[in-house]
């Protein structure tokens, strides 16, 4: 799995950091997502999918093979 971020659309909702704090952080000055781990360990992959589904601004893209 590989995670890609389209940060230009991010509204800083914090939804990804709520679901998967090991994978996503937020910048202090504008709340925009910071990808901590583009290549999540197997036990984090379900959280990655959930974050991608629940992100309100379609920022998080997941590639099966990476």
């Amino acid at each position: 799995m590989r995670i890609d971020i389209h940060a230009e659309r991010c509204i800083g909702s914090g939804v990804c950091a709520l679901i998967a704090p090991e994978l996503f952080d937020q910048r202090d000055d504008d709340g925009v997502v910071v990808l901590l781990d583009p290549d999540p360990a197997p036990e984090q992959q379900e959280n990655a999918y959930e974050a991608a589904t629940r992100c309100p601004a379609s920022v998080i893209e997941i590639h099966e093979e990476g």
């Binding site: 659309r9 509204i11 800083g12 909702s13 914090g14 939804v15 950091a17 709520l18 679901i19 704090p21 937020q26 202090d28 000055d29 504008d30 709340g31 925009v32 589904t53 629940r54 309100p56 601004a57 379609s58």
Partner: protein, 419 residues
Amino acid sequence: MTSVMGNHAEELPSLPLPDEQRCPFAPPPEYERLRADHPVIRVTCPTGVRAWLVSRYADVREVLGDPRRFSNRPGTAAHILLGFSGAEPVGEGEFPRMDGGEHLRFRRHMAPEMSNMKRIGQLRPLVQAIVDQRLDAVAAVEPPVDFYAQFARPVTTAVIAELLGVPEGDRGLFQKAAEALFTGALTAAEVGEAMRPLFEYLYATVMTRRANPGEDVISRMIVRSDGTERPFTDAELVRMSAAMLLAGYDTTASMISHGLLALLEHPQELDRLRADPGLAATAAEELVRYLGVGGGLLREVTEDTEIAGQPVKVGDYVVVAIQSANRDSALHPDGDHLDVSRPAGAHLGFGHGPHQCVGQQLARLELTTVLATVARRIPSLRLAVPFDDIRFKVDTAVLGPVALPVTWDKVLPAAEGGA
């Protein structure tokens, strides 16, 4: 009300709205058939505005998630607000009605205050202290007590006012403005009247904090703005502050009282929460899904397109039914069931797309803290009147009981309750 199934040539069905005669926790029952047979249907809204009503989960999510085709320009609630047409000019800093980069500029300025998860973590002790203090105050009163007026509203008011640094003595001002706004039956001129004292107050506040910044959200927004490429004007700072104050307190207070009532009426679920207050976070999320926002959210079509195969034209209005979408079996096969341990899932109770609720993380924190603390400290909480005597708000998207008279045997102290 005209039946939504009515099919007269000149008479359109009405937008289904909450109604006291029906289940106070469920969306209007018409929605089940609309989702099955008429997922996109032309309706008349209370203001007389005509709109496409969208009721299925996938379609609601598609509309909210595509701001390029579906604009926020008319305003979230302009189909419900008498005296609004959706065509009013956008005020300086009125970001809920902006799209694209213009809108993003505001969201990224508010996000560090309201939806950065590290910030939310820091706010946890403040919210816990406010909830405990309010329960102590309520415990000193002989029950029955109206939990909406005496607990839910004071808590959410204190949280947002603490954050923005509005002193206790000045809080009546924004409560009054919010009450006027969220009752629906107002003309545009009356809304202006209701908002003016608040805008004047906040304008003066921005002036003082510019000169003498503190640690509050308004000061922090001023200071951070000064470092940006395009600093925010006073009017824009006033609008952001007003939006947080107004949108932040009755929505959450109503969710607290409506949610507690729903739990009191689902005693098995309440017992599960009492047995394990660790379920408070999923319970909070579930209540937002289950109770949702009535009346729907309004959008305007920006180019000729289709929703679920139904052609819609540029300039048409669209109302997305959040409550209906959240009960769609496409989201959860048992969506009409309240389950305090349900995994959060991609419900639309805070909206979706770039306008998704600014205050959602704060609302989650408040709801979770309230549910865990009330479950621990007042295990004997119960209604003080028969359920049938509870009246519900009907003329607003912010649903919930008009009052929530409750009683108890004992309120446990904060320490003893472990809260």
